[in-house]
Symmetry: C2
Subunit: 526 residues, 2 copies
């Protein structure tokens, strides 16, 4: 293993260099043969468009002042973690029991060491992503214990489902990241699950991925496996894992998340500090109140990573939903969470941190019109907010309780559209198309003109899901719904899947590590 | 009739004053009884949020220069209308045959007399709408010859369907306008159709409406009926009809549309000059090229209304779609039309004209996920572009070939969300919610706190369509899809419908006018 490490010190990983070319090329050839392939992989989005802003300077300053008041007067609880409390005391905070009160400006001051953007390396360097700045990275759904499968059943997720979603995310051109818990493989013991999950991301995909956060030792295992994949020195000097650290809103960070955050920050790996908010339950029922609490929680959690290791990459995360005032059930795709996303993105930019929110969120139990309206509303605000890292970008159903294959494929199509939109307006001479207007003139059409011919391949986003044919043709082809077409596409993609090449020494190293680890643990299912 | 006119000279219409209160109140009471009512009517949107912009000053100036070049070098055809050509010659344009070449600056100069915003009066003054500025007005689908009905059939539309959509738009809180050809009532002779359509808008709704544009004499009939409804003097002095004048892109205005435009402009009624664009067919395959042609066409068509009557209200309209490069079929909800909408809105603001685009457009044949994704994408860009008048805001299916009841109800729900989003972030003391954050503190929840209780009724948009319940409850309630819930809602609304009160003299006047007109014409079905 140390040989592998040594070979990788030039900054690109062994797996990456060997995987490059072989992976995309083989998949593309196979896809071409089967006729239903996903097409060319896109790199992460470099936004050419503005961000949409809902708060002016006055509003932003007001919310920042209020958040400072929350931090100072009310404070944030760091639970069951004496080390964290001691670190805060040392840093100058006023610690009373588990409640930490922050002098005004302390958190912002600590955050000066956090990078405003960084690279998360993938084993295939072509798939490495920028996190922050004008970059937007799409990652799949995270966390559901259930799946809605290709046979139309809703059932507990398995490791096979997990691997399928990793494969689909690997194939999807507009998904730039392999994500993390794409579904919970509940057929694997809970204490061993993270090993199989991280292994799947590392071996079935060459895109960047997320680490385990459900216990500090699982975070340690993730880092150890990353060192096998990338080489120890490379991991010490670079960010190769990004990790979801949720606040326990309102105003609490718990032992589990703090433990994982400490492991990753110490190893220079990225933490996404995310207040998980169902507004009305975990935050006030107003947008400004929610933004205030979110900012306070992020300031506390993100600056904590800088106490652990100054310079460790950290994101301003926001998971914004609201609840039904009748039933208390979470709702998605409604206007208030969109306003929260827009506002939080502005606060993050002022703070100089990369921003995570949104995705393709919905409450619907099936991939129907409700699911699509809600997901599109969420994705539109996510994109225009200028979000840097988009978890749950594809496959999310049922308020995050189910990963859905059909929804995944439909969302991937929408992500491709979002990526095209983010390119903005081409004002080049070709974009201006004055020659075309001159050639065609009044009363004619552009279908066959030179400019149209020259731009045939790149003109207009081509949907993989939409049926734009006539009603009669649609009837003749079996009156298929969008999810039915998505189902067929998912099957074709899975059939066309070929794993990206991986160095045999690395593959063996990972297998050995997992075997040893698993043998040391009893099976645990709770 | 002249008595009615005399009684109305204080600026509010007879029907309006008498209708006010009686209409909304009765419907609301009836709705409360049946338990499925649409809720309180909303006035048109006064946007508190910014507009999203995709072009900078340089890009805008470039497109404006290019449009001026199109107008000067290539010109615009005004077909089969000698009067229009004579007017252009008189105005200083270079007319060669039917091709009009415009000296740089002529159209802009003429447009200085066009109002940047105006009021379209409804017979119920509470339903009058502002067109332009920070106002956004939602109007239903326009034009489909087919309906997808509540029994799930796709068939030719009838006058009963037409009346149903007028009723639903009247009841829908987030639809501010009765629209025009909500579907084509193909069971009524084509030469008499406009009379029944305008009559339905005038009698079944008290919201503002659109006039007939399919022949100059039908436009004249619309104006005559408006004079019966509002009084002659009121119509002379105010705008009570808004009308869709499509360019025959590329770069042609035809006799029919010019004829209708002349009638309405002469009567001080509003024209929406709209290049109807399927990019790739009627315009170049690029966004900037399409924007250039759209601007040129609007400059020519809108300034023509000012030749007819300086000061006549006129809108910068854009219907933006693109085509599938494989089949030539129109596509909707894709990124390029969104970019066109954003850019065209900016061009309209610089020109000082109210702007129309977008809606809830889709290509899907059924109200499925494709329909919803596409509609939501279109509506999001329509709203954030800062669009003033939104035709096709609800009910559009199948590329505009079918008006769909279920889609109508789902879209209305989305329009309510858009309206809420447009209110922006409440930064009042109540909005800031610091008392709530203080009261709740770390680790508790906001469900029962004073601030939540005080804001219970207004907190969060409440969807009329979404099912946010648990999977188990959704199963127990019959696994309904969003369109199924929309179907039930449409039936309940139609059952609860009561016509707004209308002065008997006016009602008789309209009936008499139509009877005399119809008697003078043979039935014509083509």
């Amino acid at each position: 293993m140390s040989d592998t490490v040594a070979a990788d010190q030039d900054g690109a990983s062994a797996g990456g260099r060997r995987g490059r070319g072989a992976s995309g090329g083989a998949a593309a050839r196979r896809a071409a043969r089967t006729g239903g392939g996903p097409g060319t992989q896109l790199t992460y989005i470099k936004r050419q468009i503005n961000s949409f802003e809902v708060l002016n300077e006055e509003g932003l300053a007001l919310i920042e002042r209020n958040a400072d008041t929350v931090l100072e007067e009310i404070g944030i609880e760091f639970r069951d973690d004496a080390e964290a409390l001691a670190m805060w005391k040392e840093a100058g905070a006023d610690v009373k029991g588990e409640r930490v009160h922050f002098p005004r400006g302390l958190c912002r001051s600590l955050l000066k060491t956090a990078p405003s953007q960084f690279t998360q390396h993938a084993r295939n360097p072509e798939r490495s992503v920028q996190i922050g700045g004008k970059a937007t990275v799409f990652a799949p759904v995270y966390g559901p214990p259930f799946v809605r499968d290709l046979e139309g059943n809703r059932r507990y997720a398995t490791i096979e489902d997990f691997r399928n979603f990793v494969k689909l995310a690997y194939l999807a051109p507009s998904i730039h990241h392999s994500g993390g818990t794409v579904c919970e493989p509940v057929d694997v013991p809970v204490n061993k699950r993270h090993l199989d999950m991280v292994h799947a991301h590392m071996t079935l995909s060459d895109k960047p991925f997320m680490g385990s956060v459900t216990a500090p030792e699982r975070a340690e295992d993730t880092v150890a496996m990353a060192k096998i994949l990338f080489g120890e020195k490379f991991v010490d000097e670079n960010t190769v894992i990004i990790n979801l650290i949720n606040a326990n809103s309102p105003m609490v960070f718990d032992e589990t998340m703090l433990g994982a955050a400490k492991v990753y920050a110490r190893n220079n790996q990225a933490c996404i500090i995310t207040p998980f908010i169902l507004a009305g339950a975990m935050s006030p029922v107003t947008v400004a109140g929610t933004l205030t609490q979110v900012l306070a929680e992020v300031l506390a959690g993100a600056s904590f990573t800088q106490l652990v290791r100054p310079g460790a990459p950290v994101l301003f995360g926001t998971f914004a939903s609201s609840i039904s005032m009748q039933s208390g059930a979470p709702t998605f795709g409604t206007p208030e969470p969109s306003l929260v996303s827009y506002g939080a993105a502005q606060l993050a930019r002022r703070l100089g941190l990369p921003f995570r929110t949104g995705g393709s969120l919905c409450a619907s139990k099936i991939p129907d019109a409700q699911a699509a309206y809600e997901s599109a509303n969420t994705l539109n605000s996510t994109l225009l907010a200028g979000t840097n890292f988009v978890l749950h970008a594809a496959g999310w159903l049922e308020g995050g309780l189910a990963s859905c294959y059909e929804k995944f494929m439909m969302d991937v199509d929408q992500l491709g559209m979002a990526q095209k939109l983010a390119e903005g307006v081409d004002l080049s001479e070709n974009g201006q198309a004055m020659d075309a207007i001159r050639q065609v003139g009044p009363g004619s059409h552009y279908l066959g003109c030179d400019h149209t011919q020259a731009n045939f391949q790149t003109a207009f986003y081509r949907s993989s899901i939409a049926d734009n044919n006539s009603y009669e043709q649609w009837l003749a082809e079996g009156e298929k719904t969008a999810p039915q077409r998505a189902n067929e596409l998912a099957r074709r993609w899975l059939e066309s899947y070929e794993a990206p090449a991986l160095d045999q020494g690395i593959a063996d190293g990972l297998n050995d590590f997992i075997a040893v680890k698993k043998e040391s643990m009893p099976d645990a299912f709770t």
